[in-house]
Amino acid sequence: MTDRNLSWLFLAPALLVLGGLTVYPALWVLWLSLQYRIPVFSIARWAGLEHYAFLAVDTRFWNAAGVTAVFTVVSVALECGLGLGVALALRGQRHWRRVALALLLLAWALPSVVTAKMFEWLYHPSGGLVNFLLGGRAINWLGDPALALPALIVADVWRTTPFVALLCYARLLTIPPELYEAGQVDGAAGWQAFARITWPLVRPILLVVLLFRTLDALRAFDLMFVLTGGGPAGSTETLTVYAYRALFQTLQVGFGAAIGVVVFALVMLVAVGYLRLINRESRTA
């Protein structure tokens, strides 16, 4: 058999699975979003762009878009800052490094539903550790529209900081110590060394991490769905939760698909934007 034939034989199964279960659904959802489909009433007719026109004036949609934006920007910013801090602390670690990494990565590896249940209990008004440590306060963290989103963001930051920390840590380990020794000769120590040596070398990797984290935050669903269910009063309802409710709870398949398409477009837009930024960085560096 020629190499070319062999290559198709090897590629075909994977491409078949991806074509059928990833590419085809991705195209189908576009088509679905152009229709009225409410299966329980056997309604199925062409809608054109009506769903999108409705979204443009739908206050619930704009609220969800705002929640998604705040959630994404704030949690990604906190994760990157905190993650870099943890990486800098870990960098000098000589003993018990495996234990340290296990403690760090645990939060990242847990199912997000477990994280949601854990934080639900931590935030419990009378049984939660948080209120206990605050001296027996009775704050209803998840029930107060002003507190629920910050509480949700804290849970997300807890879950995803390890990922940022690990990647920054790996980058820090590749910086040769000679650079710092040379820096000391030039009088760069402490903050100066960080600003002049560490930061320029970590920045490119931080940009890549920023890309991954932003994409994941835009797509996040499990944590808010289980922890708050989008409540109270829609204060934690992201676009993904709104899409899910339309698809599987009010069973408006076409309308839900349209919200899904918006998330899809957002993710792709952000990815392309970041990739251009990363390309420019690597060219100037």
Partner: protein, 271 residues
């Protein structure tokens, strides 16, 4: 030297505090019901296994654990099996449109599940696959596949081509070279990719929640999200159930840490 140990100890303590929410959940799973609400003291007066007893005897968790384990193992096998073949072709064989296929793989890793879940649901229903293991195995494997292919293609490219050529000179055909030269060398890479695929499938919630209607295919995250409470929320039982749901991830970060870290780094630093 002594100062270094002290510093390392402090960092370790900091990380243990970071993991405290998990340890608190572990303690909650052992705390007697009477001391849960309201919380009066940090350390319970005694520890009990009653919550685990309830979870094992009366809840849907045991069945969900079997479902999750089976679905995660089979979807990992499928993703790594198909992924390894495709990765070898992309790394070593002449493929027309290779650049386009690789670009498609990266794009596919960014696809949001919420966009593809509704067409997939309609497909599963049309094929009569709702509430089956197969639906989740296919959905999870296809979702993990782009990352697996990307990782393995990178690992295969790291193997010196000279080794394969030497095998060919020795008269080994390509299948033999694959079996005796490439496979052993890429095995650690397959472990890394497989661990990530397994973890994804074990933790996956949206597909499992949407495609299942009964305990026949209900996975652990779904069972946990739907954990029943008759009159009040059984926080101790939920804590015990979440500890069981956390066992495979704990095993992975403790025992297979090296492979996990390698996979994560290779997956993120894809350039």
């Amino acid at each position: 030297m002594r100062a270094g140990r002290l510093r390392d100890g402090l960092v370790l303590l900091g990380l243990a505090l970071y993991a405290a929410p998990f340890f608190w959940q572990a303690l909650t799973s052992l705390r007697p019901d009477a001391e849960l609400l309201p919380l009066a003291q940090l350390w319970p007066s005694r520890l009990t296994l009653a919550h685990y007893d309830v979870v094992f005897r009366l809840s849907l968790m045991p069945r969900a654990l079997v479902n999750s384990l089976g679905i995660a193992l089979l979807s990992t096998l499928l993703a790594v099996g198909l992924g390894a073949l495709a990765a070898y072709a992309l790394a070593r064989l002449p493929v027309c449109g290779r650049g386009l296929i690789l670009l498609g793989m990266i794009a596919a890793t960014a696809f949001p599940q919420i966009a593809t879940v509704s067409p997939l649901y309609l497909m599963m229903r049309a094929f009569g696959l709702r509430d089956t293991w197969l639906a989740l195995i296919l959905a999870n494997a296809s979702f993990a596949l782009p990352l697996v292919i990307w990782l393995l293609a990178g690992f295969i490219r790291e193997i010196p081509l000279a080794l394969e050529e030497a095998a060919a000179v020795d008269g080994a055909g390509r299948p033999a070279a694959l079996r005796w030269v490439v496979l052993p060398l890429v095995a650690p890479g397959m472990a890394s990719a497989g661990l990530l695929a397994f973890l994804f499938s074990w933790n996956e919630f949206l597909f499992a929640y949407s495609f299942t209607a009964s305990e026949a295919s209900r996975t652990v995250p779904v069972a946990l999200a739907l954990f029943p409470g008759v009159f009040e929320v059984p926080w101790g039982d939920i804590a015990a159930a979440s500890l069981l749901a956390s066992l495979p991830p704990i095993l992975i970060v403790v025992a297979f840490q090296r492979y996990l870290v390698r996979g994560l780094l290779a997956g993120a630093l894809r350039e």
